[in-house]
């Protein structure tokens, strides 16, 4: 009898102890960097080391890519007075890709829009509407095609008065680099200020659920399920904006006018396997507007998107329609974008 009791207790202990050890190793860290909030959550053996390493990596990249830090590569290019400036291979790779993406989007994304952003006060938060004369003077300074890149010497040259800024692409670029290194982990969630990237599989085997913020009220508008992980990046005119004289001015500028994009969209979410492309496209498609964005998707179907227009109607590309659900209590018209 005693032996049986002992056995039962031993079994119970084993079950409990194994239950404890089944809890996988995990680590999570939140930091302020790159002018945003960054969260890394990693599960798997060595997760704490992995998180620490990636945080260090983010700080290193920030030092290269910052537009305001006097020691950065970008600052050196912007203060090169029209001369060639040697940069690190990471900065060169990022800027080369930024220029390529600018071409790809027909200039709707442009890494040289910074002087215009400054004129509107979006870089400091001291918002004001510039005069049309000021804007006219700025328009020729926004021109990605004037960025010269020399791969042999890893050097960059821009005309005097112009400025490059990788704010619209660097978070995606860094997310991709981190995601690539997370292959050995069980899974990872990388979130660089709303640039969300899920790597690997969830413990439960269920798909990841990414909440998309409602541009017109509090909370979520919809949830996107990602069975295989991937990136989701959202841009909209509802977070960084100001109002003056009854008009709303948002921070996403049209490179052609140097003024807030005259768009019929409120918010653009782009999902795909490359966060860099999602980052660039969320901005570019917002600038393009509904019709042009749909045409662009039909011509390049390696990403998917969720668009919300100024009437509140939601447009979802056909490929992800089954992975898309409106959040609890949200009622909107949802249209499918067919190829």
């Amino acid at each position: 009898m005693l032996r049986r009791v002992k056995l039962i207790i031993l079994l119970a202990v084993l079950v409990v102890v194994s239950g404890c050890s089944a809890e996988p190793e995990s680590a999570s860290t939140q930091i302020f960097a790159m002018d945003t909030i960054i969260t890394l959550s990693v599960q798997g053996e060595g997760s704490q080391e992995a998180v620490d390493e990636e945080i260090q990596f983010i700080y290193e990249m920030e030092q290269l890519f910052s537009v305001t830090d006097e020691g950065s590569d970008i600052w050196a290019i912007n203060h090169g007075q029209g001369e060639w400036v040697a940069v690190s291979s990471d900065t060169f790779a990022l800027l080369s890709y930024a220029v390529e993406q600018a071409e790809w989007t027909g200039g709707a994304f442009d890494p040289t829009v910074y002087p215009a952003l400054t004129a509107w006060g979006f870089t400091t938060g001291e918002y004001h509407v510039p005069s049309q004369d000021q804007l006219d003077a700025l328009i020729p300074l926004v021109d990605y095609s004037a960025v010269e890149l020399d791969a042999a010497s890893l050097s960059v040259r821009i005309p005097e008065g112009m400025m490059v800024d990788v704010g619209g692409i660097a978070k995606g670029f860094i997310s991709d680099l981190i995601a690539n290194r997370m292959g050995e982990m069980d899974n990872a969630l990388i979130n660089l200020g709303g640039n969300a990237y899920a790597v690997g599989q969830k413990d439960s085997g269920e798909p990841w659920r990414v909440g998309i913020q409602d541009p017109d009220s509090d909370g979520y508008l919809a949830v996107l399920s990602l069975a295989e992980g991937g990136a989701v990046v959202t841009s909209g005119g509802y977070q960084r904006y100001f109002e003056e004289g009854g008009e709303t001015y948002w921070h996403i500028l049209d490179p052609e006018t140097a003024a807030p994009a005259d768009t019929d969209l409120r918010s653009v979410s782009v999902t795909g396997s490359a966060a860099t492309d999602c980052d660039v496209l969320s901005t570019a498609l917002f600038v393009m507007g509904l019709e042009e964005a749909c045409d662009f998707w039909r011509a390049n179907q390696h990403f998917d998107m969720i668009l919300i227009d100024s009437q509140g109607t939601v447009y979802v590309t056909e490929t992800i329609y089954d992975s898309f659900t409106l959040a609890d209590g949200v009622e909107r018209t949802v249209e499918v974008i067919a190829p």
Binding site: L2, I9, S217, V223
Partner: protein, 123 residues
């Protein structure tokens, strides 16, 4: 005697382990956590008789953010930061989307409580 001690010890281990697991699994009540530059400066239950509650947070660079906690939700009602992004964000009701005031390095987030079933947020 030794056997009895052993059984007693094992039983204790079982109870302690089970308690530890239950404590871990059980939902901790939802709490609003306010941090400045990574340091927790205030924690307020997201539910209860003390609500609604208004709290002034002293952020970096002498900035101030006014936080309002109501039953089940929290927002930054006003702030003297230049960009007003934290105020524009409005109310949050779960842990996936913290309110962040970058200029003041203030984070207002909900910890604990029932899981919303959402892993990550974008917007």
């Amino acid at each position: 005697m030794t056997k009895k001690l052993l059984i007693g010890f094992l039983a204790l281990v079982v109870v302690a382990s089970a308690a530890a697991i239950l404590w871990r699994v059980g939902d901790e009540p939802a709490t609003v956590r306010i941090t400045v530059g990574g340091t927790i400066v205030n924690e307020i239950p997201l539910s209860g008789n003390s609500l609604p509650k208004t709290v002034t947070v002293n952020g970096k660079d002498g900035g101030e953010n006014t936080v309002i906690v109501e039953e089940g939700r929290v927002c930054i009602d006003c702030a003297d930061c230049p960009d007003q992004i934290c105020v524009n964000q409005g109310w949050i009701t779960d842990s996936t989307l913290p309110i962040v005031c970058l200029p003041h390095q203030v984070i207002v987030e909900i910890v604990g409580g029932e899981s919303s079933g959402i892993d990550m947020a974008t917007g």
